[in-house]
């Protein structure tokens, strides 16, 4: 497959998933004195097509997976998967951020470790930081918080499960 431009990538996803892509936005920025440009693409997708979308992304090029970030937005938790494609070509890299919302009543998301094994640590992290259950994760132990904070407290949450009560005032 030839190198796609950022509009073509958005088109490529829209063609395949149609209205399941809730929102797609291209962010164009430039830097330096020659004002060379770079692009970030932000997708908001429906949970039902999540795994398929990742597979679809792999068809463009095997992406570099960066990390998963999570937002607690009231009723739902939003997970943002950060990828980049076309690395290695001078100034052609495109960052792709795919966000998917998971309702707090059913906090489950599929694992992508079978496609991208490097996502394991990040998936373990969202499990303990947000309390999201990742289905099919090869290793579901906690990772960063062992011994530091008790189970059932999720530091990235904004609700009553947040870590606020664990804070000690150091300056008395």
């Amino acid at each position: 497959m030839k190198n796609l431009s950022s509009e073509e990538i958005v088109q490529y996803f829209n063609d395949k998933f149609k209205e399941k892509i809730k929102d797609a936005r291209i962010e164009k920025r430039s830097a330096g004195s020659k004002k060379k440009e770079f692009f970030n693409i932000w997708f908001k997708i429906d949970k039902s097509i999540f795994k398929e979308a990742i597979n679809h992304l792999c068809e463009i090029q095997f992406p570099h997976f960066a990390v998963i970030s999570g937002n607690d937005i009231g009723e739902n938790i939003e997970l943002v998967y950060h990828f980049s494609v076309y690395y290695g070509v001078r100034l052609k890299e495109i960052s792709i951020n795919i966000s998917v919302e998971v309702p707090k009543s059913n906090l489950k998301i599929e694992s992508i470790c079978d496609i991208i094994p490097g996502a394991l640590i990040s998936e373990r992290e969202i499990q303990e930081m947000l309390g999201v259950t990742v289905e099919g994760i090869p290793d579901n132990r906690r990772i960063f918080l062992i011994g530091n904070i008790p189970e059932g407290v999720y530091p990235w949450r904004k609700d009553e499960k947040g870590p606020q009560k664990l804070v000690r005032d150091m300056y008395e």
């Binding site: 962010e27 020659k34 060379k36 999570g70 943002v80 100034l91 530091n148 870590p163």
Partner: protein, 407 residues
């Protein structure tokens, strides 16, 4: 010896770096490693959570203290994320100064690493040699920024300190020093028989594994994957500069993905950094330093801004990515997520360490530059009796192996 028994060997957990302190648990068969497990998080400092309690200017200094060694890249990535959200145009001069600072840091970090790596194989002479060479760049950093380690020169929308014409002689002197003295270091590392014996064909990471496990930085470049944010994306002044991805085949003509290749990549990058700084100094445009010099006004603007953005930068150890979400109501960001390079390189350790000997653990673990060696305490369980092997012992084993080769 027909029946093979494996033993478990935990290493760690006191690992000083970032939030990635790590404990290994090895399964060993004699001297050979047949299983690796990782435990991280002993020194989780909750930096991301603290960040959501403070305003963006305060976070810059918090981001600086994510890692004491890569303390340019984290504030840089964070400010880029915020600038992307709030549509702040950074002045050209500030972009160039940012680039110079980032490259100075790369020089100091890679030379630091070279010393640590030499120490891990028991070659302490080279540790002292390389750290002596490193002092020059620290002096330069102190001269330009006022601090030896934490530079504190970044702010949202620009930089806080200028590089003036009368500072050029000092900078040029330091750069010339590196042009003259790096040769000694490079020769020591690339031609020395002992280092070659210890590092060639050791800790191999194949191209496929590097791709699948999403390794970053010199670790992945040594395996032949051309991934370098400075080349891929036009951030700071890198879009204007003459730069290429450093892979080990430039020197050796082949890519093995072993420890030796990682050494080659790092040394090449130091040379490249000196060159990049000179290019920047030549082209340094005139203009402002900050987009919005009044901090209270900047904070007020950011308070009203809503949106999410990412900022990326190439740290000495690999790609740094920060995700920030501002909600338009509070001064503090709604979410802040930091991805440091070692985070992605953790999993790459497993294929690297498989099949190696115990004595190779320090150098293989150090070869990804996890900010410090994580081999503080080792327990060997032999025949149900616990023998404690400490850092020294492991270090001694490593030195003995070097001596065996040297003979």
């Amino acid at each position: 010896m027909s029946e093979k028994t494996t033993y478990t060997l935990p290493i760690g957990p006191i690992h000083p770096a970032l939030k990635e302190p790590v404990a290994f648990e090895f399964e060993i068969e004699g001297e050979k490693i047949v299983g690796v497990d990782l435990k991280v998080g002993h020194v989780h400092r909750a930096i991301e959570w603290i960040g959501t309690q403070r305003n963006p200017i305060q976070i810059i200094y918090l981001a600086e203290r994510i890692c004491g060694i890569c303390n340019i890249c984290h504030p840089l990535a964070f400010s880029r994320a915020v600038e992307n959200i709030a549509n702040i145009e950074v002045p050209e001069r500030a972009e160039y100064i940012r680039t110079i600072m980032a490259e100075l840091e790369r020089i100091h970090s890679h030379i630091l690493w070279a010393g640590v790596a030499a120490h891990e194989i028991g070659f302490d002479t080279v540790l002292h040699l390389s750290w002596a060479v490193r002092e020059k760049v620290l002096d330069l950093i102190e001269y330009l920024t006022g601090n030896r380690i934490t530079k504190a020169v970044f702010t949202i929308g620009g930089v806080r300190r200028d590089i003036t014409k009368d500072q050029y002689p000092t900078i040029n002197k330091a750069l010339n020093y590196y042009k003259e003295n790096l040769g000694v270091l490079v020769n020591t590392f690339l031609d020395d028989k002992t280092i070659q014996m210890r590092s060639k064909n050791c800790g191999i990471l194949t191209e496929e594994d590097a791709l699948k496990l999403c390794a970053v930085g010199p670790t992945t470049r040594a395996s032949g994957i051309k991934k370098d944010v400075r080349v891929d994306q036009a951030y700071c002044a890198y879009g204007d500069l003459d730069i290429k991805v450093m892979t080990p085949d430039i020197v050796t003509g082949e890519v093995n993905g072993d420890v030796y290749d990682r050494i080659v990549v790092r040394l090449l990058e130091v040379e490249q950094s000196v060159d990049l700084i000179e290019q920047c100094l030549d082209k340094l445009p005139s203009g402002d330093l900050v987009a919005e010099p009044k901090i209270p006004k900047l904070l007020a603007t950011l308070k009203k801004t809503e949106g999410e953005g990412i900022g990326r930068a190439e740290a000495p150890r690999g790609e740094v990515i920060h995700y920030v979400k501002l909600d338009g109501k509070n001064e503090a960001p709604y979410t802040w997520k930091v991805r440091a390079p070692t985070y992605n390189n953790l999993l790459a350790w497993i294929p690297m360490l498989m099949g190696e000997q115990i004595a190779d653990i320090p150098i293989v673990a150090a070869s990804t530059d996890p900010c410090m060696s994580c081999t503080n305490r080792v327990t060997v369980i032999r025949n149900n009796k616990k023998e404690i092997l400490d850092n020294e012992e492991l270090h001694r084993l490593s030195i003995e192996k070097t001596r065996r080769f040297a003979r």
